[in-house]
Symmetry: C2
Subunit: 409 residues, 2 copies
């Protein structure tokens, strides 16, 4: 079996930060990314935050001869921003939307509008069924407020759903590959949960040879587009973009080389994006025994991670229940105010208190204010009800997983 030929696969992953009108020097950077991809000739390219379909179309035209196969995942109001370019045929795709995705009223973060989702692509390369997944950042910018991270439960629900999605869709795959911006530090509970529950291995930790930013960081102060003040607690930068992989059936995958870009592109004054790109060279070989069977061998550690994650989700659940209660109470108060006003107006119409002038304008303004609060608070109440359901559902699933782990012989 050892004599089987090795498949060498070069993968490129980048969070492109290509938001129309908002991202700095976007057209220039997208052109630069396209030129580099053409020149380097990777086998598989996973891009995130390509929010404008026009940018995708431009890249598609430019890369048509070296990456004849591509797919853009559409979802949400703005889109998923995910796209894949490949030298090999894409057989099928599937988009999975997370159930929780930030808060619609946190407009400055915008997560809710992006329809956060993970895109699955299925390919067959030299007879090997290959499931590359492309995922966008799980909750924007939450990593900067690490002390009071209101998004942590949402991010854990997403990490859990991502892990479940991978487990359920990868059963017929020989090799699974994940590339994207997870917005979590390598030691965070979400990453440990994802890696533990799926058995995925971190290309940075496994690479025989590494070249790039220190510690594999992908958000570094040297990059002219990063917000320096946000990186103050991390003078070296942080590693939040990952390439993860595993072999499922009788294959082994090894990461021969991992590279990151280091600020400005060669011969240019700007980098590709505010994130550094991650490039991995993987060796895939058929073998008798599947390697990397991390599941089962480390059940105790995994149970600890799932317990930790379940606790955090529980904290989020109680916060969401509190918010649901507050918004519900606010809606009831606004409704009472409206009813009171209606009574007062009816009383005036019936001729009561006719000796005093009726303050029409301020009455109207107050009614509109109450109506506005009623609509807003009802909307919030519905949203937090949904949030409670999803957090509760995830807590249930995690408990079920823990029971299954504990019952294993």
């Amino acid at each position: 079996m050892e004599g089987e030929p090795t498949l060498r696969l070069r993968v490129f992953d980048l969070n492109c930060w290509a938001i129309r009108y908002l991202s700095k020097r976007r057209p220039e950077r997208v052109r630069l990314i396209g030129d580099t991809l053409r020149r380097e000739g990777f086998d598989l390219v996973l891009l995130q935050e390509v929010w404008s379909e026009q940018d995708y179309s431009d890249l598609k035209v430019k890369l048509a001869d070296c990456y004849p196969f591509s797919h853009y995942f559409r979802s949400g109001v703005i889109g998923s921003g995910l796209c894949v370019f490949s030298r090999f045929p894409i057989l099928d795709t599937l988009l999975y939307q997370y159930s929780l995705n930030g808060y619609p009223y946190m407009l400055q973060h915008g997560d809710w509008f992006c329809g956060k989702s993970v895109g699955l692509v299925i390919m067959k390369i030299s007879g090997i069924i290959f499931n590359p997944l492309c995922f966008p950042s799980l909750q924007l910018h939450a990593e900067y407020s690490r002390d009071k991270d209101a998004y942590l439960p949402h991010r854990l629900v997403q990490a859990w759903e991502l892990a479940q999605f991978i487990r359920h869709t990868s059963k017929a795959a020989d090799v699974v590959l994940l590339g994207g911006d997870l917005n979590m530090h390598p030691e965070d509970v979400g990453i440990r949960l994802l890696r533990g529950w799926t058995g995925l291995r971190d290309a940075f930790a496994e690479a025989t040879h590494f070249e790039g930013c220190k510690n594999g960081c992908t958000l570094v102060p040297d990059n002219c587009f990063t917000d320096k003040s946000e990186l103050l607690p991390f003078p070296l930068g942080i590693r939040i973009d990952y390439i993860l992989y595993k072999a499922i059936s009788s294959f082994t995958v090894k990461c021969e080389e991992l590279k990151t870009t280091t600020g400005p592109a060669p011969g240019m004054d700007i980098p590709f994006s505010d994130h550094e790109a991650v490039m991995a060279t993987l060796h895939i070989q058929r073998q008798g025994q599947p390697a990397g069977a991390t599941l089962g061998t480390a059940d105790v550690a995994l149970a600890d991670v799932v317990t930790e994650a379940r606790t955090e989700v529980g904290v989020g659940l109680r916060a969401a229940q509190q918010q649901r209660y507050s918004s519900g109470r606010m809606a009831v108060l606004a409704l009472l105010l409206l009813l009171l006003q209606a009574t007062a107006a009816l009383g005036t119409l019936a001729g009561l208190g006719a000796e005093q002038p009726f303050p029409k304008l301020s009455f109207c303004l107050l009614a509109f204010l109450a109506l506005g609060i009623l609509i807003l608070a009802t909307g919030l109440h519905l949203f937090h009800t949904m949030e409670v359901k999803m957090l509760h559902g995830t807590e249930d699933q995690m408990s079920m997983a823990l029971r299954a782990l504990q019952e294993r012989p």
Copy 2:
């Protein structure tokens, strides 16, 4: 191989119509359903529209000894309404939410608030990996206006996503089973698409022995809870609740018997629900060759169905684009009106036209009206943008599937 023991599985499926405060005689019916399930001792029970978690908890307590394993899928504002009771252990679950789910402003249909989703359960029975899926109705009541069915594209997107979800998650399963209310007639394009693209077989069509309402109908005029006027075009009733199945690996599944309830429950004056229950007895046996390999043998017919579905999705896409345009235009007009008012107000403040009295109250009312229209139209615009993205994405996926079908040798 023929000598292998046969697994005999009795499945119960029912759309329970258990909406708090709205469904008639709900507590009585839920009790009745629980009593019947206890008495009959099925192997697997798939329930839909159990909207109240309290009803699920009551059923769980009542059924604890004969169905020791159960799961309730939480999602959306109200919940998914899906739950599963089983004699055999549930290993894992996954909830998949459809990307399109009706319109938030169609309050009378309520689909948008229910977080329409499909629940997947994974079980292992006598060594057979078993993937039962439970799905709720795909768009409420749309089947009654068959001539002008505005929901058809949404329902097709859901049928397609359901088919894709089944294909991707069932690769390691031996047997796949689907039970639920599809809200489509057996000959509808959505059903043909789902069956063709997944290879699932219809228990009603395959059953050796059938007993119940004529033609397997599950929404019948004899049921005292159905709306007779809506069933006028279908005097015998319609069949919209299905049990579908297939064997994936080296197993065969046969439907020995299919039954439906026929109106009132035995010895009672009321039926279980406004839908009839569907009960199937399946025989599962290990065999050399997988049976029912419908895929591949009927590629041409399948390509026709996918083409038909893609055309319908295209019609929906153009309608959604039109609505997106209209709502965008409305938002711009409201914004212009607000700007005009602001100019007038500033003019008055600057002392222009001071000889005429300024109509404060009507000015205020007009401004609030314009603001209301602006918010509403912007919301609609965002929603239809999302709808366009999803319809476009599905059209793409269907085109990819068609290419794959045509390229097959």
